[in-house]
């Protein structure tokens, strides 16, 4: 059974290295500060006891007030998992640091999030639309995107 890594424990570990990185904790999730995301991710990947070497999924949700980018991490060796969340309170040009340099698997997923949700990723090597064509207006998965234009 994949163990959920206790969020408080994880937050403590992160705080010893990066005191200002953790914004909040929930029972199973960890809310991170946007600016320290990449450092924290590198730490999570390289730490022997944590060993989150796989980024299973990267999604984004539009909560109208803010965007939430969700990172699902798994350690195949220790069989435990955790969820990181980052909130972005901008609407016009939201962006978070790209984790492509940490996990290559983020490459296409970040492009997808950028394409459909409009959240940019700073430092992504090739951030352009994946599914929709260049020149498409708007980002369809945002809640304010109208399916049928007036």
């Amino acid at each position: 059974m994949t163990r959920r890594y206790p969020a408080d424990d994880l937050a403590g570990k992160i705080r010893t290295r990066f005191p200002d990185a953790v914004a909040d904790t929930a029972p199973a999730e960890l809310y991170l500060e946007r600016d320290r995301l990449r450092d924290v991710c590198e730490f999570l990947r390289d730490d022997e006891a944590l060993d989150f070497r796989a980024l299973v999924a990267l999604n984004a949700v539009d909560y109208v007030d803010y965007f939430e980018v969700v990172y699902r991490l798994v350690s195949y060796r220790h069989n435990h998992a955790t969820v990181l969340k980052v909130r972005v309170y901008e609407r016009d040009e939201p962006s978070v640091p790209s984790v492509t340099s940490v996990w290559k698997g983020a490459e296409l997923q970040e492009r997808e999030v950028y394409d459909l949700m409009g959240v940019g990723f700073e430092g992504h090597p090739n951030l352009k639309r994946v599914f929709l064509w260049e020149g498409f207006e708007g980002h369809p998965l945002r809640r304010d995107f109208l399916l049928q234009r007036p």
Binding site: L55, V56, V61, V70, Y76, G105, Q109, F131, L132, L141
Partner: protein, 367 residues
């Protein structure tokens, strides 16, 4: 004297016999050798995630059929598990058994398709494809018996399955189970010892375990690289912890391992289906739930080991009858991250086999 040469750029797809749908690869060749690859997606993008926001929880099941149209049952299962996790309920045991049985039959059918097309891409003129389709047809017949459709099954429901097994199902399943091991052996005898196939696949398209993990590769492609990670074992959902089966692991992570691993997984799936049939408990197949579900506000992530890898649904609910956000973690799409690194340096003929060995379904990639 040096000749001035430049690479030749070829667009493989979106209409090409071996891109398995409408995939497009821009490839730069130096002679036959691949210099660079750029995958282009989106030809089959239907906006499933956006459509799901406009449907009720039950109606979304019909959308999941159309994600991976080679393995609709597992897509159903992943979605239904996510909703159940969101609502904090669990299907009755008989429903779970039926679901697992269908998922494993689906895995056999999907792997059969992969093997057939993989060998077709390698140039075996249709024969393995015809054999695998013949066996897949039996599985689709079973599905039709159970739910009335072969591909777009819409069979699983939140809290169970749509209908109980019909009386003619068990004998038909027994006939199928008696037949399929021999047919898998036939398939193995047909090609897996073939010198040409070995020359074409051994040590071709290597994917190291490190690269596979870092590239978020899941499913058979990950296991062929030697990583022991199968959600059915490492994070058992439904009743997998009550079943006995092995998870085959590859060694090199080459085309041959990915091919043989799927043959072996099919044998294990046959084992699982047989156990499900023997242990099938009585009782209801479905919880009594209202037609319009209103899960409490919150989010949940449900995942299954689909034939192509980890298929996950990340659902966010705001308490209404439709999901607020339905994000799909599709294995085919994410497995393509490593495609470029696997292809560069190989030849044109290897390109189609490496792409085929990843077993990518464009319906799931573009969603």
């Amino acid at each position: 004297m040096t000749l001035k040469t430049e690479p030749i750029t070829v667009n493989i797809g979106p209409q090409h016999p071996s891109t398995h749908g409408v995939f497009r690869l821009r490839v730069a060749f130096d002679g036959e050798v691949i210099q660079d690859v750029e995958p282009v997606f989106g030809y089959l993008h239907r906006g499933s995630e956006k459509l799901a926001e406009e449907r009720t929880y039950t109606q979304v099941v019909t959308l999941t059929d159309r994600l991976d149209y080679v393995a609709p049952m597992t897509s159903n299962q992943a979605y239904v598990l996510a909703v159940e996790r969101l609502m904090g309920i669990e299907a009755p045991e008989r429903g779970q058994y039926i679901r697992v049985m269908m998922a494993e039959l689906m895995r056999i059918a999907s792997h059969l398709m992969m093997i057939g097309f993989f060998l077709q891409d390698m140039g075996a003129f249709g024969t393995p494809l015809m054999y695998t389709f013949r066996e897949r047809e039996d599985i689709l017949d079973l599905f039709e018996m159970v739910c009335g459709a072969r591909i777009t099954v819409t069979y699983m429901r939140v809290g169970g399955v749509q209908a109980d097994l019909p009386p003619e199902f068990t004998p038909a399943l027994e006939r199928f189970l008696a037949k399929i091991p021999g047919q898998i052996d036939d398939l193995e005898q047909l090609l897996s010892g073939n010198e040409i196939l070995i020359a074409r696949t051994k040590n071709v398209g290597l994917l190291s375990a490190e690269a596979a993990i870092n590239g978020s590769v899941t499913g058979p492609a990950l296991r062929a690289s030697g990583v022991d990670w199968d959600l059915r074992k490492s994070d058992p959902y439904e009743i997998y912890d009550q079943l006995e089966f092995d998870v085959p692991i590859g060694e090199n992570g080459d085309n041959y391992d990915r091919f043989v691993l799927r043959l072996e997984e099919m044998r294990q799936s046959v084992r699982i289906v047989r156990q499900c049939k023997e242990q099938m408990p009585g009782g209801p197949h479905r919880l009594e739930l209202p037609m319009l579900l209103r899960p409490p506000a919150g989010d949940a992530y449900g995942r299954v080991e689909a034939p192509k890898g980890e298929l996950g649904f990340y659902l966010v609910s705001d308490g209404s009858i439709a999901p607020y956000r339905c994000a799909i973690r599709s294995p085919s799409f994410i497995n393509l991250t490593v495609l470029r690194d696997m292809l560069i340096g190989w030849k044109l003929a290897d390109m189609v086999t490496i792409f085929g060995s990843l077993d990518v379904n464009m319906g799931e990639v573009d969603r």
